[in-house]
């Protein structure tokens, strides 16, 4: 392996990362622009930052979005962990293939299709049983469905390369399955469960399409507000919001990496022992 990158490869990286980061950087730069026009630079100013924090609709939408994201991420984490567990550990239960398809579905289908379908269900349910009224709750339910698949994939992957002999030893020593799950399984998969929660949280904060379909007239999430202000002519406040979210996302990513890193030493130990086990069996 060469220790220096070839000049042409370095150029590929520079071009690629420029493509990825120039648009994002431009948003951050223009959040400090004096001018109201998105493409004209008229000098440095904190004007839009001030207006952003005085914008009550923006604050209200942000609060609603954060609440929905926290609720739906928690629901998706519980259901997604169960689903991931079932897929990794249960070789067969009735209609396992159908279940696997249902778990993968929300990840693969276009959000417009999922959005309109979910709305039709909510409307039909409301007519039949008077529940649920469209609003924050319906957005949260739809987001749980949308993001539990991602949690399931993360948890399933972790369980797939997980040393079962620890659990088996505890069971042999007489621990009840629930105790084994709480004291051994859960701590070992905790990093991926936490990462799954963060992923679900971000997905919910990011979603415009499904929310637009299932929201009630009173509930407006942050992406819905941003979308309408972008469509009505760009408000420089959107740049401010984008900058704040960028900083928050970068921080969340760093925290998530720290979580995964914290889980790594245990994982590495297990992986190393797995290899030595395989070695013994092979000889």
């Amino acid at each position: 392996m060469p220790h220096r990158l070839h000049r042409r490869l370095l150029a590929a990286l520079v071009v690629g990362y420029a493509f990825l980061y120039v648009p994002i950087a431009s948003v951050v730069v223009y959040s400090f622009n004096e001018s109201k026009l998105a493409t004209v630079w008229a000098g440095f100013s904190l004007r839009w930052w001030g207006e952003f924090f005085r914008n009550e609709a923006m604050m209200e939408a942000a609060t609603l979005s954060l609440a929905i994201a926290a609720a739906s991420a928690s629901g998706a984490t519980i259901l997604g962990t169960m689903a991931g567990f079932a897929l990794a550990r249960r070789a067969r239960f009735p209609a396992r293939t159908v279940f696997a398809g249902l778990v993968a579905g929300p990840m693969l289908l276009p959000e417009v299709v999922t959005g309109i379908a979910t709305l039709l269900l909510f409307v039909a349910l409301e007519r039949l049983v008077g529940w649920p009224e469209r609003g924050a709750a319906t957005i949260a339910i739809a987001h749980v469905t949308l993001s539990m698949a991602f949690v399931a994939v993360v948890v399933q992957a972790r369980l797939a390369d997980f040393d079962r002999s620890l659990e088996e030893a505890a069971l042999d020593l007489g621990a009840r399955p629930a105790v084994v799950f709480r004291t051994i399984t859960l701590p070992l998969i905790a990093p991926s469960v936490a990462a799954g929660w963060l992923l679900a949280f971000t997905l919910s904060l990011d979603d415009l399409i499904v929310a637009q379909f299932v929201a009630g007239p009173q509930s407006q999430t942050l992406p819905m507000l941003v979308y309408s202000s972008v469509r009505l002519g760009v408000s420089p406040q959107v740049n401010v919001l984008a900058t704040i979210i960028l900083v928050a996302a970068a921080s969340i990513l760093l925290v998530a990496r720290a979580f995964l890193k914290a889980g790594e030493p245990a994982g590495d130990r297990i992986a190393r022992r797995d290899c030595s086990d395989a070695g013994t069996i092979a000889h």
Partner: protein
């Protein structure tokens, strides 16, 4: 994989003594909680879509839950050239976007895989980071860059590539660029995964046998990385087909994509049966690529 599960089953049986029995009964319920949720909130809605799509196309503020079954929406779907154009437009734009993402993503993935090992984690994280920032805002950022006096046009004029590039914003090219940008990490990650596993000895052998680097790349690296190319292309192509936000913000009046048509059919026209029929048409369109992706994933899991 099966052996592991059977072994797990034995362990559970061994532990089937008094208080543990209740645990096992609870554990047996585990798959069914998410299962029921998905049946109610994911599968059932599609039955409703199918039922309503068969109803007559009629602009109405409330959805017609009653089943009329005339298939009028489908007749319109096939008869109206707008829908056909949108259907083909989606496939064309998704294919072009995928190609663009491949052209940008392959050199990146190749360079990361060839970078010193200590750099790779950081370089990959830098590819993923933009993905954690809001989609809407990443797309919106391009509206400024692609406008008449935006950065891209200034660059094109400044470097003399084009004297008068015109406004890119509002064209199909802007849409392709936006989609390629938004889904680039989906392309880079699978490509990196196959390229990093590539055995360097094969390239050395090619060099020893007198192949110049470009020839070694074309005859060794590229064929061996095709699974990654296929995986990355599917991961970009599938969401690109159903894209709504990118054509809405970056495209023009003549940009026709099926997801946007569904969106307008619902929000602008309030036509529930027509929107449902378009949804069914989108599902049909995605059956093949989604199946290909699932098969590829299954094979990748088996190999592990």
């Amino acid at each position: 994989m099966d052996a592991g599960h059977r072994r797990g089953g034995d362990v559970v049986n061994r532990a089937t003594r008094s208080p543990a029995w209740r645990d096992c009964a609870l554990a047996a319920l585990v798959p069914y909680v998410p299962y029921l949720w998905l049946l109610l909130f994911f599968a059932a809605p599609f039955v409703l879509v199918a039922v309503i799509s068969a109803g007559d196309a009629a602009p109405d503020a409330t959805p017609p839950i009653a089943f009329t079954g005339s298939g009028g929406s489908y007749a319109r779907l096939v008869g109206d050239p707008l829908y056909i154009a949108a259907y083909i437009g989606s496939l064309r734009i998704a294919a072009l976007s995928t190609l663009l993402a491949l052209l940008i993503g392959y050199p990146m993935a190749y360079a990361i895989a060839r970078a010193p090992e200590s750099w790779r984690a950081g370089l990959l994280a830098a590819v993923i980071l933009p993905f954690w920032t809001p989609f809407l805002i990443r797309v919106y950022a391009w509206t400024g860059l692609l406008s008449e006096n935006g950065l891209v046009n200034q660059l094109l004029r400044g470097t003399g590539v084009a004297e008068n590039p015109g406004t890119i914003l509002g064209t199909e090219w802007a849409v392709c660029l936006g989609i390629a940008y938004a889904y680039l990490p989906f392309m880079v990650l699978p490509l990196y995964a196959t390229l990093v596993k590539l055995d360097g000895a094969l390239l050395e052998a090619a060099a020893d046998l007198g192949a110049p680097p470009w020839r070694a790349f074309l005859t060794v690296t590229l064929p061996l990385s095709l699974p990654g190319v296929a995986g990355g292309c599917l991961l970009v192509f599938i969401p690109a087909v159903g894209e709504v936000i990118v054509p809405d913000l970056l495209g023009g009046a003549d940009t026709l994509m099926i997801g946007k048509v569904l969106w307008d059919e619902f929000f602008a026209n309030g036509d529930w049966p027509a929107a449902s029929a378009v949804a069914v048409a989108m599902l049909v369109m995605l059956v093949l690529p989604v199946m290909a992706l699932q098969r590829a994933r299954g094979r990748a899991l088996e190999r592990r």
